[in-house]
Amino acid sequence: MVDSNHKGEVVFENVTRAVQTKKTETIILDHCSFVIESGKLTVLIGPSGCGKTTIINLIAGYEKPDRGKVLIDGKPVAGPDRERLVAFQETALFPWLTCYDNVMFGPLATKVMTREEAHEQAINLLEKVGLGDFLYKYPMQLSGGMMRRAELARALINRPTVMLMDEPFRGLDAMTRELMQEYYLRLVEESHGTHLFVTSEIEEAIFLADRLIIMTNKPSRVKHALDIDLPRPRIASVLRSKRYLELKALTLEILHEEAVKASMASGKADIAIDSGLRT
């Protein structure tokens, strides 16, 4: 299963993570184990608040597991590193830097390449994501979709071994989102890196994934893992194929159950949106 040529295999071994609030301790991950295979696009999906962002933070090294191990190519995660880069929810472009300066930030901070090299690559990459005309705009001048693309470029210029996508298209309108997914897939299919993509949209998950990991509600574990065998390169018409609909039905079935559970748990009173009506 593990291709020794590829790097960036992420292993979660019995990871437990709890967060202390003022009053209580909430267990977010509970003995969670799974593998993110190198060179593949793994999508993590689950109800909101199930600890998906925590998983991203653990791999990126922003948080440490309370118990268990997070291993990258066999070594435990020591801290944030440019080998593992995150594209954040909503985007975390530095608002005081222009689009171009944002992309140049990584190479200049670490000095792995010369300014000229970095410049060339930055221009290249920004052209590729369709921001060639917006190099010297500040993030606030860009549309939502453009910001997400700039963020992608900012991460990809550093050639990370593992790319972590934390619901990167959240908050975009559905149509822009679909176009962003196509953009993103093109980049992934060219680069063949290891990608972890976290989302709560089923459509998006199945459309993008090589492998789909479905999480349970808090405290979360892996509920199910699916290999998505839709052909690549994927285009929008995949969404009409028989196989896609089968996979969607299966995923919906699993997730619907979790979503009902989550909605019962998240309201402080025990509400059941479903059952209340049918009586």
Binding site: P47, S48, G130, F134, Q141, L142, S143, G144, G145, M146, D173, A174, M175, T176, E178, L179, S200, E201, I202, E203, A236, L239, R240, L245, E246, K248, A249, L252, L255, H256, E258, A259, V260, A262, S263, S266, G267, K268, A269, D270, I271, A272, I273, D274, S275, G276, L277
Partner: protein, 281 residues
């Protein structure tokens, strides 16, 4: 009170005729709507889809009475509610459920629910009784009565807001992407909830969104709007039988209808995407 017979009465028809809306910020004319025509039958569930900034919200605001129109007329059951120089102030006959949710955070759930009847001059005790009845009928737990909206999950907030609208027995419900802030799983649950509410009350619902899946899943009819200036470009009848549940989402017919809708909006979406302006939702 919810009126089961509104369909028979034929209450809640919205007619939009040749509506045009021109904004005039800083002397630059921006056409938000142009030759916009549509007809919503009483008791019909109509979704409108289009990329952000295409003028859907402008149309909804004009129907609700928040803004005026520069040409054409909008009628609600033969009453002119918007025409040049005439805007009927917003009222309890056409209630909007807002994108970000507009439950008053400083009022408890019950106070939010009875707000409409009370300001309209009804007896408070009657309003409370009515609110409780409706809560039972539409499946909202009575335990939430004394909670502030800040204590509810986003899904429940929307549920309360829908009930707050229905208690006034409006002729039409106008929904402005009410589930946008929800993640897709709780969104699915809310869709099923809204469908059941629709089955029970048979109100006319006009719902705008940019999410095709949502549109096809909920609607009797999906209208597709072009980018600015907004006109209605296409119409798709959704013939999936009611009652619907989430299993519909993975059927062939659903995929087919969605594909059709997608083809119709794709061009528009691309236009909006490449224009690269800030999103004007």
């Amino acid at each position: 009170m919810v009126n089961n017979g509104s369909k028979q009465n034929g209450e809640g028809r919205i007619s939009v005729r040749d509506v045009e809306k021109v904004y005039d910020p800083e002397g630059v004319n921006v056409r938000a709507l142009e030759e916009c025509n549509m007809e919503i039958e009483p008791g019909e569930f109509v979704m409108m889809v289009g990329p952000s900034g295409c003028g859907k919200t402008t149309l909804l605001n004009a129907i609700a009475g928040f803004s005026n129109v520069t040409k054409g007329t909008i009628l609600l059951d033969e009453n002119v509610i918007a025409a040049p120089g005439l805007t009927q102030a917003p009222g309890a006959d056409r209630i909007v459920v807002f994108q970000g949710g507009a439950l008053f955070p400083w009022k408890t759930v019950l106070d939010n629910l009875i707000f409409g009847p009370v300001v309209q001059g009804k007896n408070k005790d009657e309003a409370v009784a009515e609110a409780r009845k409706l809560m039972d009928k539409l499946g909202l737990n009575r335990n939430t009565e004394d909670m502030y909206p800040g204590n509810l999950s986003s899904g429940m907030k929307r549920q309360v807001e829908i009930i707050r609208a229905l208690i006034n027995n409006p002729k039409v419900l106008l929904l402005d992407e009410p589930f946008r802030a929800l993640d897709s799983l709780s969104k699915n649950l809310m869709h099923e909830y809204l469908l059941e509410v629709f089955e029970i009350t048979k109100k006319t619902i006009f719902f705008i969104t940019h999410d095709l899946e949502e549109a096809v899943f909920l609607a009797d009819r999906v209208l597709i709007m072009t980018t600015r200036p907004g006109t209605i470009k296409a119409e798709i009848k959704v013939d999936i039988p009611r009652p619907r549940n989430y299993k519909v989402l993975s059927t062939d017919r659903f995929a087919e209808l969605k594909e059709r809708a997608f083809e119709a909006v794709r061009e528009e979406a691309l236009k909006a995407f490449e224009a690269g302006e800030r999103e004007l939702a």
